[in-house]
Symmetry: C2
Subunit: 249 residues, 2 copies
Amino acid sequence: MTGHENLWMRPERPARGPRPSFSRAALAEAAIRIADAEGLEAISMRRLAADLGAGTMSLYRYVTSKDEVFDLMVDTVVGEYLPDDRPPPDDWVEGLRLLAGQARRTMLRHPWLAPLAAGRPQVGPNSARLMETALGMLGGLGLSVDEMLTLVGAVFAYVNGYIQSEVAEAEALRRSGLTLAQRLAQHLSYIQSLIATGNYPMLERMTMEGGREYTGTDDRFAYGLDRLLDGIAAGLPPRGGPEGPVRSR
Amino acid sequence: MTGHENLWMRPERPARGPRPSFSRAALAEAAIRIADAEGLEAISMRRLAADLGAGTMSLYRYVTSKDEVFDLMVDTVVGEYLPDDRPPPDDWVEGLRLLAGQARRTMLRHPWLAPLAAGRPQVGPNSARLMETALGMLGGLGLSVDEMLTLVGAVFAYVNGYIQSEVAEAEALRRSGLTLAQRLAQHLSYIQSLIATGNYPMLERMTMEGGREYTGTDDRFAYGLDRLLDGIAAGLPPRGGPEGPVRSR
DNA sequence: CCAAAACTGAGTACGCCGTACTCGATTTAT
DNA sequence: ATAAATCGAGTACGGCGTACTCAGTTTTGG
């Protein structure tokens, strides 16, 4: 009851007793290394402990459950969203675009991050710093904090949703061990059987003119992001105007 | 090699042999019932078989792995995105908004759906029908299939991203068994320790003016969706104009 | 400086999980 | 009627997260 029920509130080093053999950061780093190399499912408490040269149960001195290992991993890597110390752009649109791009690059570098982060509302220090940075970019717009949160939430929703489907597709391909062409060929007969029912005219059009001028995934990401930012900017009060970002309904 | 490596291509009822005791649909329905009531992690092959009154290993007559159970669940529930037979609205914006709302309602009704669906690129019949429907709404815009896919992909990315964070938050709350107020109180001392460092001015502003006029989650969802649709519509060629949805860069 | 308090790390064990494999019983097409 | 094909059930294996125990080590209060 009196304990620290939150990982981030629990002090890493207790007051008394011998010095721990390693740190939370080292634990997170080891887990990240495993996940990067072999995927999330390769992480087990036994494996992680072995990599750290520790007994399996010793990990529970640092963390109360496997879930907290994941929390550590996510918050550590989210720190990569904010790599450089250069001052952020003055323009909030440019600032959010930059943040979005860095989030995407990080999530592509660590394919386990997007699915993992999506399932856990974060309160770690790096997540807090990220939110702080994003909100700070909107400081000059004269919005309430609530309006800022709505705005940033919309951008993050798009970014996370896009990247998640992007890495899911890439990971499915990687797991299958096939090339893109092989995989398409595998699905082709099924798709053709759907088309044969006559109920999928658009799918039919897709197979006929598909693959011709396929938009790259970078451009697709930028397309939606730019449209969203355009729409947000257009809905903003020009200069202390009467309408906030939440439209009246 | 000659086999059907895809669940959807494999015939449900083989040519010879005794009649199966139940159907794939019944299997999916049982799994969905368990997940709705007790969460995704309550699904195990033993539990599922017991609910169906079958031996554990008998399930593998219907499905080659647990993953295929999940595939069945997702495609079954995605069917709920398209509930009514009413003709879709003429306006593509209204059509996509309708689809987005139905997706959201379905994912809130089945909290396991969003995280599950995000991780598996779908090819099931209902997913194909959903894509077919969405693309069909854009028929009158004079876009190429590739442009349509980019447009629909952006909208789905936002919708999935928003809903996923929405249900993640709700599920974390539900799992903790606390009320919202209790949970906030739990995090408060941690947040205050962050603020005490002086590095989180926005977080500080949040705690001071927060909770005052918190935008409801329905309105937040609609805000981002409307801004995105606005931005898309604004970037569309007015009437066969020179510019497609993918901006020139 | 010394005792006692506090914490460490390793080991053992339990109850789950997914699923490979086997085999007699049953149903169907010919 | 017969033979091929599939069914349902059982057994077993390796791996998982983690509860609990206990001897050894480090730190701190007096």
